[in-house]
Amino acid sequence: GNGGDEPAPSTGGEETPAATKDVLIVGQGADAVSLDPHATNDQPSSRVSKQIYETLVNQNESMELQPGLAESWEQVDDLTFEFKLKQGVKFHNGEDFTAEDVKFTLLRALDSAQIGHIVGSINGDAIEVVDDYTIRIATSEPFAPLLSHLAHTATGMLNQTAVEEFGEDYGQNPVGTGPYKFDKWMSGDSIELVRFDEFHGDAPAIERVIFRNIPENTNRTIELETGGIDIAYDIAPTDVERVESNSDLVLQRSPNLATSYIGFNAAKAPYDDVRVRQAINYALDMESIVNAVYKGVGSPAKGVLGPNVWASNQDLEGYGYDVEKAKELLAEAGLADGFSTTIWTNDNQQRMDIAEIVQNQLKAVNINAEVQVVEWGSYLDGTAAGEHDMFILGWVTVTGDPDYGLYPLFHSSQHGAAGNRTFYSNARVDELLDIGRKSVDPDVREEAYMEVQQIIRDEAPWIFTWAGEDLAGVRSNVKGFQQHPAGHHKIFTVYFE
């Protein structure tokens, strides 16, 4: 192979090898959309923003809450939290970080169509700047998961001056308080960040970070192998073995907060009949489907929530593969002769693969399913409008809190576009989800969520498919890299050996 093709550092450093290597190149599958956290909510953007912005609260790699820009906080009443902010924090443009910035940021976030829902529980009128480094944030209703929401990258703290200065172009001129500041962006190709020397915390070891956009999975791995990049995100299942067996590379695996499911449009016959939904659950050999498609990456899903979401019920009993049982149930539902249906998927390779196998396996119970690969836009429109039958989709419980992973998906107020694309309604589920959302008592919440998960398993609006896992390939001289379950991994802890 050749080692000489990494882009030359744009700052003229000395030519001595390895020891002074101070550029880290990260390959990911898509270009960021915008570095204005309020303008987008996509993973590639968050992965970059994470290095530029900081949030009030952090979640560590075990999803535990930790101080971020807020040194400490306390709950003042059912609705209100008071945060003490860290002092001496500077924005990349040199301004000090104060409570006013927090207020500005949160109000702006509330206004955002893209991420408004993440801070939607906050009552904008009730944000109170106590002093420069103290702020009170109140929600309109009791909202238990507020802190985990404030750990979401979308709530990274912005600088008012910078936002106003760049106006519409802020997304290409981000200013945060994080360890790296934005340097340049070659659209479609790469984004370069450079170390922020006045960073308030531990200075990163690496001077410059480049996020390169390499859409093809295979190419990304090849680039990693040939040394073109140092870290490759989202190693494809097919490349796992290859990376693992390469002594120059280390494969990091960690379960994440993503899950895949096959949903039924429960508002539509025959899926309004729980027996049909269950029958199809029995008719599919989910275990082997997942193995065939994901090749051992992640795991067959045991429930709605992934294992590292708080209050996830991992003890639900699976349906198992039982064609006879499926036929029985169908017969009971009056569909012994089967029926014709469609399976929608977008053009995600794994989902298409799943669809193809599912289609194939359903033949055994006389269900004639047609796979329809629908473009993302039409897919969202169509599933929101309830035009679909069966569909394959995923969900990421980014906050790590079950509220985020259940409420939008199963609450009957969330039908359609808001997230509940199965159009599933169950009064008990609604009630439990409301309890979970409002209660401050973790035990009460946990109990409610456990029950919800059981009901959903039994009533089967979903076929649980896959619990996600993040795979990152890292060159062996890269140290200090650890994946975050939410996907936006910290780069500023990384160093070269």
């Binding site: 093809e216 999975n217 295979t218 090849i222 494809a236 097919t238 490349d239 290859r242 082997s288 489907i289 193995n291 065939a292 053009d347 390779q349 298409m352 693969d353 669809a355 193809e356 196998i357 289609q359 194939n360 047609e370 796979v371 329809q372 690969v373 629908v374 473009e375 039409s378």
Partner: protein, 300 residues
């Protein structure tokens, strides 16, 4: 005395002697038959058409016979081209794929040829403002790269075999209209057209009996090459995930789903790729041969 520089084609007496009906097309066929590479091309196309027609007999397995246990076998005596990630027999899928590809190719070209041909014939024959208008429309279509046009059309209509055919068809309308127009333009001033007019033939007869049959040559050549182009475009669309629905064994789609395995199981991409290549190769050979056979000027 001055003669026109055109050589008087001296005919073979013996040909005229046995006065069997020997149309221009037979003549073309005779010339084509002498062209070895065109015959190779024709052979390839015939094999393809046969395999498309007889796919169910030729293919040892069905297109969707999954066997997850048998996934990703390299070529062996049982599975000549190996199996894919679902354990399906790639050879069978490639064979069935010829059906899809030829269908897409022929229908897309049919759409383009008919619409383009009619537009071109009208523009060329009547000329003037109509011509101008039609040709400006074609310029506009031409200014948009055909693959982008096709992608937009598929986006607008939604993916699926028939939409792909429509998209690829529409995006190649301009080339046909141009060719037909050009040949109509040269033909309409030909003396035999004038002769027809002199004996009182009307426009319909002139276009139908004199102009269209004589403009077939370039259209046929373009169509042969166009089928190749259409197959490629459709495969390209499938490759970027805008084409045909699974589990349809479209070659481009097979290639696309194989690319994630390209390093360990290159046979998944190699065979559909080769299938495309051989098909296009055959069509091109045939198209070239037809061009030579139809244009006696290029003879030798």
């Amino acid at each position: 005395m001055t003669t026109d520089s055109k050589k008087v084609d001296i005919q073979k007496e013996n040909v005229a002697e046995n006065a069997k009906k020997r149309s221009q097309w037979l003549e073309v066929w005779r010339r084509l038959r002498q062209n070895k590479s065109a015959m190779v091309g024709l052979g390839i196309i015939i094999v393809l058409i046969l395999s498309a027609l007889l796919a169910d007999i030729v293919a040892p397995f069905g297109i969707d016979d999954q066997n997850l246990m048998n996934a990703l076998q390299t070529p062996n005596s049982n599975h000549w081209f190996g199996t894919d990630n679902f354990g399906r027999d790639i050879f069978s899928r490639v064979v069935h794929g010829s059906r899809i590809s030829l269908q897409v190719g022929f229908i897309a070209v049919g759409i383009a040829m008919i619409t383009g041909g009619i537009l071109g014939a009208i523009a060329g024959y009547y000329g003037g403002k109509l011509d101008n208008f039609i040709m400006r429309m074609m310029d506009i279509l031409l200014a948009i790269p055909s693959i982008l046009l096709a992608i937009s059309i598929v986006a607008a209509l939604g993916p699926g075999l028939s939409n792909v055919m429509i998209a690829v068809g529409i995006s190649s309308i301009p080339s046909y209209s141009r060719i037909v127009r050009a040949s109509v333009l040269t033909l309409k001033d030909q003396e035999f057209v004038e002769a027809a007019r002199a004996v009182g033939a009307n426009d319909v007869r002139i276009i139908g009996r004199h102009i269209i049959p004589n403009s077939m040559a370039p259209i046929i050549v373009q169509a042969t090459l166009g089928v190749a182009g259409a197959i490629l475009s459709a495969a390209g669309l499938s490759f970027i995930g805008l084409g045909i629905q699974p589990p349809t064994p479209e070659w481009g789609a097979m290639l696309s789903s194989g690319r994630q395995f390209i390093r360990d199981y290159p046979h998944m991409t190699a065979f559909p790729g080769l299938a495309i290549m051989i098909t296009i190769f055959g069509l091109n050979l045939l198209g070239d041969g037809l061009r030579d056979a139809l244009d006696p000027r290029l003879k030798n």
